[in-house]
Symmetry: C2
Subunit: 701 residues, 2 copies
C-alpha cells in the first residue's frame, strides 16, 4: 500500500469513527464498540477487496458483505455513505429514528446495499454460507469457459457473540464440508463481550475449531494494516476451503477510558470520550476548521461544542477528502463492472438458452401448465400429506429450476427432495438438493441466504416439532419477506410411538403468531397442492406447509359431487384460508358448524356423518387450511362461514392454550393442551379424544 493510501485509509477510518460516535451519541442509543474497532477493516473491504457498483446495487456478480455482528450497524452505514450508496449524512444523523434508513440493526435492503437483516447473532454468518452456496450453484449452472458470469466472494464480519452461538458452528461445519472457497469470514476478535472480558466464558481456540471444521484459518492484527490487507487479498485467491481471518482488534479503538472495555460495546461513548477521540485522531483538522484550533485543544470546550453540534438537527460534518478517497474504489470497480457487462453481452449472444434460463430465474412466474398441474392434483387412495407435499414440490420443481433445498437428515420422512437431481457436494454444485445434516438452525438461515438475492426459491424441511430448533431463522425469513418454503411433516400427536418429544403441540399456533408468515395445514391432497400453488403465486414472503405422518382421505372422496371439478373455484375458496367444505343441506341454515385443519378436516367430516345419522341435523363443515389468510378476510365473509349464533366446534390437534378463554361462547374448542405420549398414533389420537365417536360425544355433552 502506498504511503498516501495509508494516510488516507487512516483518515477514512477516523472519519467512520466520528460518524459512528456522533450518530450513536445523537440517538443516545447504539453500539460504538465495533465500528470503532473495525473501521480499518471495513475500509480494507470496501476500498480494496470488494467488487461492487453502487449504481447497480443488485448486480448479480457483486461481492457481498454481511455484517453478522449486526449491532455494529453504524460501521456499514458509514461505509455505504462514504462509498456512494444512497445513504446521506442526513440519514446517518437520523440513526435509530422512526422511518430512517439507518435502523438500529441493518435491515435487508438490496437497493441500499444491505444484503440481509442482522442482529440476532450468528444469523448473518449462516446467511453468508447460504449466499456462498448460491454463488457456487450459479457458477456451475451458468459459467462457461471464458464467460465467467459468477465469481463473487462473500465476506462476513463476525464477533465473539456470533462465534459463541451454536448456529455459527452448524453453518461453519456445513461450509467446511462443502469447501466453500468463495466465503471469507472475518472474526473481529476483541476479547470483549457485553458482560465483560471473554475470559469469563469464552476461552476456546476459535481458529483451531474452524480448522477442525475444514476451514483455512489465518491470523492478523489490525494494528498491522498492510499485513491484514495482504492476508485478505491472499485469502480471496486461496481455493478449496472456506477461509477465516482472525483479526485482533481493540473494541472502542479511538476513545480513551472506555477503549478495550465492555463499556463501549453497547452505549454511547459520551462527549468527553468523543472529544478525546477528536483530539487524538487524524481528522483533528476537520474539527479545527469547524470550531477553531484553540477550542479543539481545550477538551471541555470541545466536548461542549461537539455536544451542541451533535444534539442539533444539523447533518454531521462532511469530509470530502475521505469520500473522494473511498470512491476511488468505485472507479476502480467500474472497469471490473464494465468488463463483466461485456462478458454478459457476449454470453447473451453465445449461450442463448442459458441466458434465457438465467432471465427466467430472475423474472419468475407460475406457468399455466404448472398452475393446471397443481389445480388438478388428485390422489387415488389415502395418502399422507407429507408424501403429497413431496409430490407437489416435485411438480413445482419440474417447472421452476430455481427451486432448491433440502432436509435436516429426515428426507425419508419429510419427502422434501427434488427427484432425479443430485445432492450438492464440494466438487459438484449442479444438483438441487442439499443434505443439511442434523443442523436445523443453520438450515433455516442458510435457506434464508439462498433466498436473499431472489434468484433461488429455497425449501427446507424437518419434523414439525424441530421447528423449535430453527425458529430464529424462520422469524427472519418473515421479517425479510423471503420466498422460503418451510416444509414440516409429522404435524401432531399422530406421530405416535416417538412420544411427546416428537409430537408438536404448541408449534402450530406459535408459528401462526409470527407476522407475515403464512401457515398451511392442508386437510387433503388437494389442499396440499393448493398450498404450494398459493406460495408460488404469492412470492411475497415465506410459507410453512404442515403435513401429516398418517394417511388422509383424498379430496375427491371428501368433496360433494358437483364441487370436485371446478378447481379454480375451489382454489379461490381455499385462498381465503377457510371455506365451506361440506354441508348436509345448503338450502337451510346449519344446526351446527364443525371446523378443522389438517387431519381434523377428515375428523370433522366423519363426525358430521354421525350427527346426520343419529340426530338428523344439518351440519356444515368448514375447512381451515390457513387461519392467517382467513383472519384477513372481512367480517362479512367470516360471519357467512361461522354464522353467529350457530354452535361451532373447532377441532385441532394442537394447543390453543390460554387464549381459548377469549373465544366466542358459540365455539367449543377440541384441542390439546398437554404434552403427547408414546403409543401408536391411533391410540394416542383416541386417548386425546380425536375420534369421530369421541368428538360426537363431546358435542352431545
Amino acid at each position: 500500500m502506498k504511503k498516501t493510501d495509508m494516510i488516507n485509509l487512516k483518515k477514512s477510518a477516523d472519519y467512520i469513527r466520528y460518524l459512528s460516535l456522533a450518530s450513536i451519541q445523537r440517538a443516545n442509543s447504539g453500539h460504538p464498540g465495533l465500528p470503532l474497532g473495525c473501521a480499518e477493516l471495513g475500509i480494507l473491504l470496501y476500498r480494496y477487496a470488494m467488487r461492487y457498483n453502487p449504481g447497480d446495487s443488485r448486480w448479480i456478480n457483486r461481492d457481498r458483505f454481511i455484517l453478522s455482528a449486526g449491532h455494529g450497524s453504524m460501521l456499514i452505514y458509514s461505509l455505504l455513505h462514504t462509498i456512494g450508496y444512497n445513504i446521506s449524512l442526513e440519514d446517518l444523523g437520523k440513526f435509530r429514528q422512526m422511518g430512517s434508513k439507518t435502523a438500529g440493526h441493518p435491515e435487508y435492503d438490496l437497493h441500499d446495499g444491505i444484503e440481509t437483516t442482522t442482529g440476532p447473532l450468528g444469523q448473518g454468518f449462516a446467511n453468508a454460507v447460504g449466499i456462498a452456496i448460491e454463488g457456487k450453484m450459479e457458477a456451475q449452472r451458468f459459467n462457461k469457459k471464458n464467460n465467467t458470469l459468477f465469481d463473487y466472494t462473500v465476506y462476513t464480519l463476525m464477533g465473539d457473540g456470533c462465534n459463541m452461538e451454536g448456529i455459527s458452528y452448524e453453518a461453519g461445519s456445513m461450509a467446511g464440508h462443502l469447501g466453500l472457497d468463495n466465503l471469507i469470514a472475518i472474526y473481529d476478535s476483541n476479547h470483549i463481550s457485553i458482560d465483560g472480558h471473554t475470559d469469563i466464558t469464552f476461552t476456546e481456540d476459535v481458529g483451531r475449531r474452524y480448522e477442525a471444521l475444514g476451514w483455512h484459518v489465518e491470523y492478523a492484527e489490525i494494528a498491522d494494516i498492510q499485513d491484514t490487507a495482504n492476508k485478505l487479498e491472499a485469502l480471496r485467491a486461496l481455493k478449496g476451503k472456506p477461509k477465516l481471518l482472525i483479526v485482533k482488534t481493540i473494541i472502542g479503538q479511538g476513545v480513551n477510558k472506555k477503549k478495550d472495555t465492555s463499556g463501549i460495546h453497547g452505549s454511547p461513548a459520551g462527549y468527553e470520550e468523543i472529544a478525546y477521540f477528536v483530539q487524538h485522531s487524524t481528522i483533528r483538522d476537520l474539527f479545527e476548521a469547524q470550531f477553531g484550533k484553540e477550542a479543539v485543544a481545550d477538551t471541555s470546550q470541545l466536548a461542549s461544542l461537539l455536544e451542541k453540534q451533535i444534539k442539533s438537527e444539523e447533518p454531521l460534518l462532511p469530509l470530502p477528502a475521505v469520500t473522494q478517497f473511498m470512491r476511488e474504489a468505485v472507479d476502480l470497480n467500474k472497469q471490473h463492472y464494465a468488463d463483466w457487462e461485456k462478458t454478459f453481452r457476449t454470453y447473451q449472444q453465445d449461450f442463448q438458452a442459458e441466458y434465457n434460463q438465467l432471465s427466467a430465474y430472475r423474472d419468475f412466474a407460475v406457468s399455466a401448465e404448472l398452475e393446471a398441474a397443481l389445480l388438478n392434483y388428485n390422489e387415488a387412495k389415502p395418502t399422507a400429506t407429507r408424501n403429497i407435499s413431496g409430490k407437489v414440490l416435485n411438480i413445482a420443481a419440474a417447472h421452476i429450476p430455481q427451486i432448491v433445498g433440502g432436509c435436516a437428515d429426515l428426507v425419508g420422512s419429510t419427502k422434501a427432495e427434488v427427484s432425479g437431481s443430485k445432492y450438492i457436494d464440494r466438487n459438484d454444485f449442479s444438483g438441487r438438493n442439499i443434505a443439511f445434516g442434523v443442523r436445523e438452525h443453520a438450515m433455516g438461515a442458510v435457506g434464508n441466504g439462498l433466498a436473499l438475492n431472489r434468484m433461488f426459491i429455497p425449501f427446507t424441511s424437518t419434523f414439525f416439532t424441530f421447528f423449535d430448533y430453527m425458529k430464529p431463522a424462520i422469524r427472519l425469513a418473515a421479517l425479510m419477506k423471503l420466498n422460503h418454503m418451510f416444509i414440516f411433516s409429522h404435524d401432531s400427536i399422530y406421530v405416535g410411538e416417538d412420544g411427546p418429544t416428537h409430537q408438536p403441540i404448541e408449534h402450530l399456533n406459535a408459528l401462526r403468531m409470527i407476522p407475515d408468515m403464512i401457515v398451511f395445514r392442508p386437510g387433503s391432497d388437494l389442499e396440499t397442492a393448493f398450498a404450494m400453488l398459493y406460495f408460488l403465486k404469492k412470492m411475497n414472503g415465506p410459507a410453512a406447509l404442515i403435513t401429516t405422518r398418517q394417511n388422509l382421505v383424498p379430496a375427491v372422496f371428501q368433496l360433494p359431487e358437483g364441487r370436485k371439478d371446478n378447481r379454480s373455484d375451489l382454489y379461490n375458496q381455499f385462498s381465503r384460508g377457510g371455506y365451506v367444505f361440506y354441508e348436509t343441506n345448503k338450502s337451510t341454515p346449519p344446526d351446527i358448524i364443525l371446523s378443522g385443519s389438517g387431519s381434523e378436516l377428515g375428523l370433522a367430516l366423519e363426525t358430521a356423518t354421525l350427527i346426520e345419522e343419529r340426530d338428523n341435523k344439518n351440519v356444515r363443515v368448514v375447512s381451515l387450511p390457513s387461519l392467517e389468510l382467513l383472519s384477513t378476510q372481512d367480517r362479512e365473509y367470516r360471519d357467512g362461514l361461522f354464522i353467529p349464533g350457530v354452535p361451532q366446534v373447532l377441532i385441532e390437534a394442537a394447543s390453543h392454550r390460554a387464549v381459548d378463554m377469549f373465544y366466542n361462547r358459540d365455539v367449543t374448542v377440541i384441542d390439546i393442551q398437554s404434552f403427547g405420549l408414546s403409543a401408536p398414533g391411533e391410540t394416542v389420537g383416541d386417548h386425546f379424544g380425536f375420534t369421530a365417536e369421541k368428538v360426537y360425544q363431546r358435542i352431545k355433552n
Copy 2:
C-alpha cells in the same frame, strides 16, 4: 479383564441386542441401530465404570448416565432391566405402548433410573454439562477433607446427530471453559445418520473440534473392548478437562444386511435379520433351549418362530446368566455405597451446619420471612420490572441458597444475578452465578441439567426475543416439570431503538401455548414479586417471568386505597391469573372492561381515567398477569371478571394473530400483528397505538 468376564460381557451384549431387536420388532417401531452398535459400551458403563444403587436410585452421589441419543432408548431400558432397576421383561415387551415404562424416547424418571428426557438431539449432552456443573457446585459446597460426599461422574452417550446440533457445540464450549473433569462424553461414531453415510454432510474432525474447546480426547474402537474399557477407566481419573472418548462402532452390529447402513437406524430389523443375529450370536443356546437346535439352525424356521414369539403377548426370553453377571456390578457398588453412607453419617456428626444446609437443599420450603418479604414488596418510584425481577430474585436468593443461575451475556440488561456472589470458574464453583456466554440454547439445557436432581433451583435469562434461541430446552423443562425460572426482559416493542429483530411480537403467545408452562407478565413491581412467590411456592414446573425494559408505575400508586395493604388477599387474586384491579364504582356493573398484562395494565388504567373524565362511564380494569392461570379458573370466576355482554378491550403489545378471529365479539383486541421498528420506545409505542389517547380513540370508534 478376565477371560470369563469377557465371555459374559459378550453374552450380555448379545442379550441386550436380543431385547432391543425383539422389543422394537414387537412395537413395529423404534431405533435398533444404536442399541446394537453400543451394547458393549453400555455394559462397560453399567457393569464396570459406573457407581450407583438400584435400591436408592436417587442416591445423591450416584454416577449419572445420560443417553443424549435418546432414540436408542432400548439400550438404556435393556441395561436398567439387566442391572436390576424396576423395569421388567414385561415392561420391555410393551415398548412404545400406552402407559408403559418404556416410552419411545427415555422419559425423565429418577426412580427408574432415567436421569432426563432425551430425543431432541444434543439436549441430553447439554443436560449432562449442567449436571457436571451441579456436581462441582455440590462438591465445593459440601465436601470436607476426608468427607467426600460428592465425587460422581457424569457419563453421556452421543451420536453424530447430537454432534451436528449447535447446542452440543455451545455446551461443549462451556464445559471446556469450566474444565468439567467430572464429565465423560462418549461419541458413538458409526458414520451413519438417517439419510445415509455421514460423508454426505458431516466430515469435520470432531476430536479436533473438542480439543479446540478445551477437552481431552481419546479414541477407541469397540471391537477392542479391553482397550475401550481401559480408556474409560483412565479418563475417569484424568483431571482438569472434560473428556471425550470417540468410539468407532458399527451401527446395527449383529444383524446381517442392514448392519452398517442407515436402514437399521430407525426401523425394526425384520425377523430374518433377527434370526441371522440369533444364529451368529453368543446366546444362540438360549434360543436352542427354547426352540430346539434344529429349528435354530434353519433360518426361515427360526424367523417364523421368533415372529410368533415376538408377536405374542408373552414376555421376552429371560437369561439369568446375564442378569446375574450384570448384577455383580450392583454387589460391587454396594460396598462403595456402604462406604459412602458411613462417610455421610460421620459428616452428619462432624459438620452439622453443612448437613442441615444439605437437608434444606433437599427439603425445600418457602419460609414465612421470604413470603412476607415478597408479599410486602414496594417500589417508591417508577421502575422497570426487569430491575424489580433482579431485586426479587435476590430477595429469594437470600433465603434459598439453592437458587443459582445466570444470563446469556446480558446481565446488565436483564439483572438476573445473585448479588454478592461469585461467578463460577474452572477453579472455583462456590459462586451462584454462571456466565453462560452468548449461548442461549445451551443455557436453557444446562439450566435444565441443574434442575434435574431437584437440589438446585436454576434461573436463566436473556432478552425475550432470544427466547427463540432456547425454545427447545424450554419445551423440555415444561415436559419434565423442572423447577427452572426463565427470566426474559425487554418484553415488547418498547425495546425501541434496537428495532424489529430485538422486539418480541409473537413470543408471548408462543410461550403460552406450551403445556405446563406458567407465563407471568407482571404489570407492576408487586406483581413481579408475586410471580416469584408463586413460582417458589408451586415448585412443580417451570415459569417464565416476562419483564419490561421501561419503567412502570409501582402498584401502590395504581391500586385504589383500601386494596393496597391486604397483600395476602391481593396475592390470592393474583394467583388466579386475572383479577379486578380497579373499578370506577363497585356498586354498579361496569360499562366497559379494560384488561391488559405487563405494561398494558398501566395503559389500561390511564385509558380508564380518560373514559371516566370524558364520558363519565363506569370502567373496570382487569389485570392479566398470567393467562394460563386464569384460563384454569372456573367459568363462574371468569364470567365474574369479564361480565358477558359488557364490552371488553384486551390490550397487549404482542401478537394474537389469526386466533383472535375466534374471540368473543364483546372483545376488542388491541395487539400487534406486524414486526416492530427501530425508533425510541415511546415513539414505537405511539406508532402502534399504545397510548391512552389512541386506545381511547379506538374504543370510541
